[in-house]
Symmetry: C2
Subunit: 350 residues, 2 copies
């Protein structure tokens, strides 16, 4: 019985199209001899589309994307300081709008350090953890406001919103994930300063912990977590945290595991009401776009997360193994984006 | 002509009293043959005081402290998870209350990596930067609120407040500081997500930049800044950022420069309306309290910042040199808190 997966592909800006081309290559290779077919729809979205049409993401775009089973996204965002984009905010209007509209409440970001990868730390130890970042609340809600803008009396407010509903579902996901791993879960927040949000996160974390007695828990302030991340990252298994702290911590995690060019992510709607979205953690890097310099590994890793999410575990594991083998055999010789994609794809068809 | 400086000393909890004893030793040593006298008033504040009296910081305490010329603070905060402290929040009620009441709008946090200090990075390069953290606004204002607390419909809000007044004065301070150094200033924020606060910070940063054309400027999102902090920290000279991002970035900065045991800080009220406060960045570390295990270098470094703030530059430089010499000659042999303090003080009287 063959299965057809409707996949929305948003290659986006900068290096997005280059890395997505390689991700698709790998997806095709790993599904070639299976009964799963990916029926792809390409969406031209991002800075170029905005410059051409003035639209960032229309309701029609959103509806069309939402009718798919899953989304693969490259990277969005134009050249920094491009005056024509000054008022566009592609990040909020496109990336965050997708995450919020499609209720991507779990932003899953695994970090693993491979022995062959030259990371910045002297003694990292074995690094293999996952950050479960909340994706639909916190300081990302865009519920602030400005008074007396442009004057010496301007007040600019940013409201961070946290709900029991929003916190509970992501915390539960994190506990369940920890159960399938080394059974350690760390809550990261700043409960001593952001006391309202902190108390809510702590309460729900403690309540959920009681239902998962086999998962060992601890708590860390976000500032202290950055210290542990460079001093002793092997202490982490699963981390659960809010949208902003998760954003910061996963870039740092990417850095200590050898660069954001390897970091994959999934924006998950585990309830299945909306399609989940898979994307590399890195941005559009306009400075190296079109030069075949970008590492497509993060985009290819996002394919592994996509396959896992679709229940295609065997295929997901094959992609992960191919990535790991490729990384293990890396030398100093530079490779183009396509060469890395080809090498990983070749391991799947061999 | 002799000068008397009224110094409020808050040794605080945990390792606070131990490191403050050494800081005072060094202060006494460096001023011994000068015409400056420090007239010290000791304030018993922190978790112990709260447990004994139920008070964290009374109006009388605050008024008494405010009548001094400067404040030296060790660390405050009791044992984590002590149920008797569950509702105390010493951090908000004492430390942050002092910063806010005394209008400490510049939180100055220098980071320097000494060749003899074993940091966690393989190739840090020359690291010598200062974070100018805003100290009286942002997510630290405590202007949030909770609805339906304890229920499945709880909503916990955190309001981050940013004003032109508050941003301008700290940004101006940062530009002036950059002029006395390598003339590079980096603004760190998250303008693509926190657009209200971001626009205000960016506008004022750009406006102030025009008045300081000799200072080279750049901008970085907080998540990207953590990457640069581990990949290439030598690129930074002065960083200016908001309260929360500054909190996170300075702990990371402490970690990459060999540990938070060396990181000093000043909570400054540059206008001089209120006394400034000097403290190590580290916390009270109750787990090692009373064991003479804490490194007092951060507390002693805070003395250097205190002296500089009081216009006693020669004395400040002598303390800094003594610290640098002590660090340069460190061996693996463990020293007690007092031994480190004695060694640094001895270099000042020799
Ligand atoms: C581009 C930006 C809006 C985004 C975020 O802040 O979430 C990015 O940094 C990420 O981590 O995916
Ligand atoms: C103790 C805490 C309130 C404080 C802060 O968040 O500012 C500390 O982390 C610091 O950096 O001085």
């Amino acid at each position: 019985m063959s299965r057809v997966v409707k996949l929305a592909v948003i290659a986006g800006d900068g290096i997005g199209p280059e890395v997505i081309a390689e991700a698709e290559k790998v997806l095709d290779a790993v599904t070639a001899d299976t009964d799963v077919t990916f029926d792809k729809t390409r969406f031209s979205l991002g800075a170029d589309r905005f410059l051409a049409t003035g639209d960032v993401l229309t309701d029609d775009d959103l509806q069309a994307i939402a009718s798919h089973d899953a989304i693969l996204l490259g990277a969005v965002g134009g050249t920094p300081n491009d005056p024509r984009l000054a008022n566009a905010n592609i990040e909020r209007g496109l990336l965050l709008k997708l995450r919020f509209s499609l209720d991507h409440y779990v932003n899953l970001r695994p970090s693993k350090l491979y022995p062959s990868v030259p990371g910045p730390l002297k003694n990292p130890g074995e690094v293999d953890f996952v950050v479960v970042r909340e994706g639909t609340e916190g300081s990302y809600v865009g519920n602030g406001g400005v008074l007396r803008q442009g004057t010496e009396h301007e007040i600019a407010n940013e409201l961070g919103v946290n709900t029991a509903h929003g916190v509970r579902r992501v915390v539960e996901y994190a506990f369940e994930l920890a159960e399938t791993r080394r059974k350690k879960l760390t809550l990261v927040h700043k409960t001593n300063v952001m006391v309202n949000a902190g108390k809510l996160w702590k309460r729900i974390f403690d309540e959920t912990s009681e239902k998962h007695p086999e998962v060992a828990v601890d708590y860390m302030h976000i500032d202290a977590a950055t210290i542990h991340m460079v001093d002793n990252p092997s202490r982490f298994d699963v981390i659960v945290t809010d949208n902003l702290f998760g954003d910061i911590l996963t870039d740092l995690a990417g850095a200590i595991t050898g660069g954001i060019g390897l970091a994959a992510s999934g924006n998950l709607n585990p309830s299945g009401e909306f399609p989940s979205m898979f994307e590399p953690v890195h941005g559009s890097a306009p400075d190296i776009a079109g030069q075949q310099k970008a590492d497509p590994t993060a985009a290819i890793g996002s394919i592994a997360l996509l396959l896992e999410h679709l229940g295609l575990s065997a295929e997901s594991q094959r992609v992960t193994r191919a990535i790991e083998q490729d990384i293990a055999e890396r030398t100093d010789a530079p490779r183009t984006t396509a060469q890395i994609g080809d090498a990983i794809a070749a391991r799947l068809t061999a």
